[in-house]
């Protein structure tokens, strides 16, 4: 058993693994109890498992946990809570931008990565930024509005 030290949502977490290829998703969900990140395809095709690693959107279903050692990992739980949602989450709530909600955490994480890179995106940039996140319920229009709302609500960085 090898020990991995991860930094997740600002906290150092030690996990044990006998397979260096264990995807980060299984460590987050199984070892750390962070079940807000979901398995969708295991193929990096749908985006449901998206987390931030060093501020970038990463598909945790294929990224080995061993590959993110030493980098800051942020999951959906690291952003906000139902009582204190972060600005992107608050915008998703305001737009009621989820039906089944299974893909939503990945959408929120992709939106965070997009807004970090492009704080004032155009609608087209939002669409492109979320092109790798699939939704089956058809909440797309609300998600686009939510991301634009979050961008508008965030004070312009100096």
């Amino acid at each position: 058993m090898a020990k991995l030290t991860l930094k997740v949502n600002g906290t150092r977490r030690e996990v044990e693994s006998d397979d260096p290829g264990t995807p980060l998703l299984y460590v987050l969900r199984g070892d750390l109890g962070l079940t807000g990140t979901h398995f969708g395809c295991g193929l990096a095709q749908c985006g449901a498992c998206t987390v931030l690693v060093g501020g970038r959107a990463v598909r945790s279903c294929i990224a080995p946990a061993s590959s993110v050692v030493g980098q800051e990992v942020v999951t959906i739980e690291g952003l906000g809570s139902p009582e204190r949602p972060d600005p992107v989450q608050a915008a998703f709530i305001a737009e009621q931008a989820a039906q089944c909600g299974y893909c939503t955490a990945g959408m929120v994480m992709s939106a965070r990565a997009l807004l970090a890179q492009t704080p004032r995106p155009t609608e087209q940039q939002v669409r492109e930024g979320l092109a790798g996140n699939l939704c089956r319920c058809g909440s797309h229009a609300r998600v686009i509005r939510a991301v634009l709302r979050a961008a508008a609500a965030t004070p312009r960085a100096r």
Binding site: P82, F92, I144
Partner: protein, 748 residues
């Protein structure tokens, strides 16, 4: 009474709360309101489950809080708030005092599963009557307690009090923790619309804050003490049987071990990733499969298949104008094909089962937990009342995906290993094995006489027959495990809407039921009616074009239902519809061709009414269709929560656009080959059109259902718009660029 409900009113409502969007829901005495159950649900064990009893649907606690029990589950539709609005309205109780338990066979009545757009239209109406019956009873009890005639009393915010405001006794004091022992009174007086406090308001859903923060607990997130993770190794070829397993091939993978029941093969492990790894590493020998038919000939095979029986869906006048057209009468024939498609749940099917000698508990995201209770009892050979199936939210399922298969597998494995077992399918299993929406083939013929009247219309549809009284869709692993089950097929009511909704003197619509389909089928959103409406509304357009009549005018002339006329006129007004026949004059040099089309449906000819217009841009060089704008108007009667209905309208449109533009299940002789999002692509964000949607509020009408109807006009509105733009008629779904490009080339 009709009023348009716009998104604006919802936003105003939300923002008026000063950013505090969660109307009182949250962590309180009844647990998280966003969940599908409550932490101490088991204190209600033993309650009435009889669907005609008030107590089966409602309970009032000593503290005056109310618990609602519903067999129909939310699955992301907003039923979780809409049903609370209904109960809060009739009982006059603030919504944050209402807890809800959904889909638990030990606690909720069997309302026949979740489907058919009936969550509110039937489940909600039953609940409303139950709540109204309870209110009547509470008024009676209050009269006794207060020593005043019931006529002098009213209910308000959970108390019975004098209409003059004097004297008051709470519901909790009157009935708290005791049963009503009352049958639901179908004649109980309902609250009049002019006194609605909750119905008709776009109140936010309690589950959304939890879902967007990762705090919502899905079925996939459930773990039990001593639970094992399992992965099933399904046969590599359809009908293949297991010859041998090399158990040593997974030695050293985290203690994973093999479970085998005849040809049912699985691995179990303490840790999920070890189960995944072991399932991939396990070496097994399988026999050759029994073979699938040739996918390339799927529709030809349907057309040639022996017909079990014909079913006449509609018959008026005769088809003489088709068989012996008089001079000046023109005839038209067209064949429409809708392929087999998957539910495409973003999260693959999952279940947790705990099978013990004396009782069985299964957690499932099935839309029919009561149905699976019976299935599970039969497969395990136990009494039905020993099996409890508890719904938990999963990924959207849009009918019946692999939920019951995964649940059956979890139960088989839990019984075999004597511990709780969690099964989760892979992406490839979900795409490959979930029971599919069947392929549908429709041939239409029409005759237009010299005056431009429709002299005859004929629909013939070839559809796989459903098995009468089939207890459940046969589950993949029961056959493998050698557990007997009734074989057969269920696809939902796929024959509806094969006949046009328009006044036509001579009409025949017949379904030719064929014996089989290549793969398992199950209800998939608006079963059958998406393909049927695609054919009927495309052909309506074809006939209008033959008669050189504007497609809107053609429909309005033949429509007598004023609510149908209204939705069409609203769509036309919003689109700025320019009356002219289709297609528009095509500029043969233009690189991008634009056009508009519309379609109309009266769902099942008796439920929700939708008109839908679309604008498209077709790239001649690539054959790519860009849908630029969708305008729709929907009349689904009484709207409990306009924003939730709006969301259903959006979802119906975007999901079906995806199906019409992209989706087709393909198989080779052994297995399905479209087993992921690369080989079975769906709609992505850049493709999403501008949506302009109107939901008509009809406070004086019963609710008609919002979950399905708006999916049905999508295919035809799209095909009609492409025809308008290009003069090319697309009759085979999906409208992928290569197919469109070929069709465009054939035209020029």
């Amino acid at each position: 009474m009709a009023a348009r409900v716009s998104r604006r009113s919802f936003l105003t409502t939300s923002l008026a709360a000063g950013g505090a969007l969660i109307v009182g829901f949250g962590l309180d005495g009844v647990g998280r309101a966003g969940a599908q159950s409550i932490p101490d649900a088991d204190r209600f064990l033993g309650k009435s489950l009889a669907p005609d009893m008030v107590d089966s649907m409602l309970a009032v606690q000593r503290d005056g809080s109310v618990t609602v029990f519903v067999g129909r589950v939310d699955v992301g539709t907003g039923a979780r708030i809409a049903l609370r609005q209904i109960v809060g309205e009739e009982l006059d109780v603030p919504l944050e005092r209402i807890a809800m338990i959904e889909g638990d066979t030990a606690l909720t009545p069997d309302q026949g599963g979740t489907g058919g757009s009936y969550g509110v239209a039937r489940g909600g109406v039953q609940l409303r009557r139950a709540a109204a019956t309870a209110r009547q009873a509470l008024l009676g009890m209050g009269a006794q307690r207060l020593g005043r005639p019931a006529g002098d009393l009213e209910v308000a915010d959970g108390v019975v009090r004098g209409k003059d405001g004097s004297g008051s006794v709470s519901y909790g004091e009157l009935i708290g923790d005791r049963a009503f022992n009352l049958k639901v009174d179908a004649a109980a007086t309902l609250k009049p619309a002019d006194r609605f406090r909750f119905i008709g308001k776009s109140l936010p859903r309690p589950d959304v804050p939890e879902k967007v923060t990762g705090h919502h607990r899905y079925l996939h997130d459930l773990t039990l003490p001593s639970m094992l993770h399992a992965r099933v190794i399904h046969p590599p070829a359809y009908g293949a049987t297991l010859v041998s397993v090399d158990e040593a091939s997974i030695t050293g993978i985290g203690g994973a071990r093999v479970v085998r029941i005849q040809s049912f093969l699985a691995v179990v492990a303490e840790r999920e990733w070890d189960a995944v790894r072991a399932a991939r590493a396990l070496k097994a020998q399988w026999s050759a499969g029994t073979g699938l038919p040739d996918h390339a000939r799927e529709f030809e095979a349907m057309r040639a298949a022996p017909v079990v029986r014909d079913q006449e869906i509609a018959k008026r006048g005769d088809l003489a104008a088709l068989t012996a057209p008089p001079a000046g009468t023109r005839t038209l024939a067209a064949t429409y094909r809708w392929p087999m498609q998957t539910h495409g749940s973003i999260g693959p099917s999952c279940s947790v089962a705990d099978v013990r000698p004396d009782r069985v508990t299964v957690w499932s995201a099935s839309q029919n937990v009561h149905g699976f209770q019976g299935t599970c009892a039969r497969m395990l050979g136990v009494k039905r009342d020993r099996v409890r199936v508890i719904y938990m939210d999963g990924a959207g399922s849009y009918g019946a995906n692999g939920a019951d298969d995964a649940a059956a597998e979890a139960a088989l494995l839990s019984k075999a290993v004597g511990r709780p077992v969690r099964v989760q399918w892979s992406r490839q299993e979900e795409h490959g094995l979930d029971p599919k929406g069947p392929a549908q083939l429709l041939e239409l013929r029409g005759a237009v006489d010299k005056d431009g009247e429709v002299a005859a219309w004929e629909t013939q549809a070839w559809l796989p027959i459903s098995t009468a009284n089939l207890p459940n869709t046969p589950l993949v692993s029961l056959d493998a495990a050698g557990i007997p089950q009734t074989q057969g097929r269920a696809s939902g009511l796929i024959y509806q809407n094969v006949d046009p909704p328009y006044a036509m003197p001579n009409l025949s619509a017949v379904v030719h039921w064929v014996a089989d389909a290549p793969l398992r089928t199950a209800p998939l959103r608006a079963p059958g009616k998406i393909a049927n409406t695609f054919a009927v509304e495309s052909f309506t357009d074809e006939i209008a074009a033959l008669a050189r009549v504007d497609p809107l005018e053609f429909r309005l002339r033949r429509l007598s239902n004023p609510r149908g006329v209204e939705v069409l006129k609203r769509v036309a007004a919003r689109m700025g519809w320019q009356p002219r026949p289709s297609p528009r004059p095509v500029n043969r040099r233009a690189a991008v061709l634009t056009g508009r089309g519309l379609a109309y449906v009266h769902y099942k000819h008796e439920e929700t009414i939708v008109a839908m217009g679309m604008e498209v841009a077709v790239e001649r060089a690539t054959g790519r269709i860009r849908v630029t704008r969708v305008v729709a108007a929907q009349d689904c009667g009484l709207v409990i929560n306009p924003d939730c209905v709006q969301a259903q309208l959006e979802g119906n449109i975007l999901q079906t656009l995806s199906r019409a533009l992209h989706e087709e299940i393909v198989y080779d002789r052994d297995r399905v080959t479209t087993v992921d999002w690369a080989s079975y692509p769906i709609l992505t964000f850049p493709e999403v059109p501008k949506l302009e949607l109107e939901v008509i509020q009809r406070l004086d009408q019963p609710p008609l259902g919002a979950g399905e109807a708006a999916s049905t006009p999508v295919g035809a509105a799209l095909a009609n718009a492409v025809f308008d733009a290009t003069g090319v008629r697309l009759r085979t779904v999906p409208f992928r660029p290569d197919r469109v490009k070929t069709a465009l080339a054939g035209r020029s």
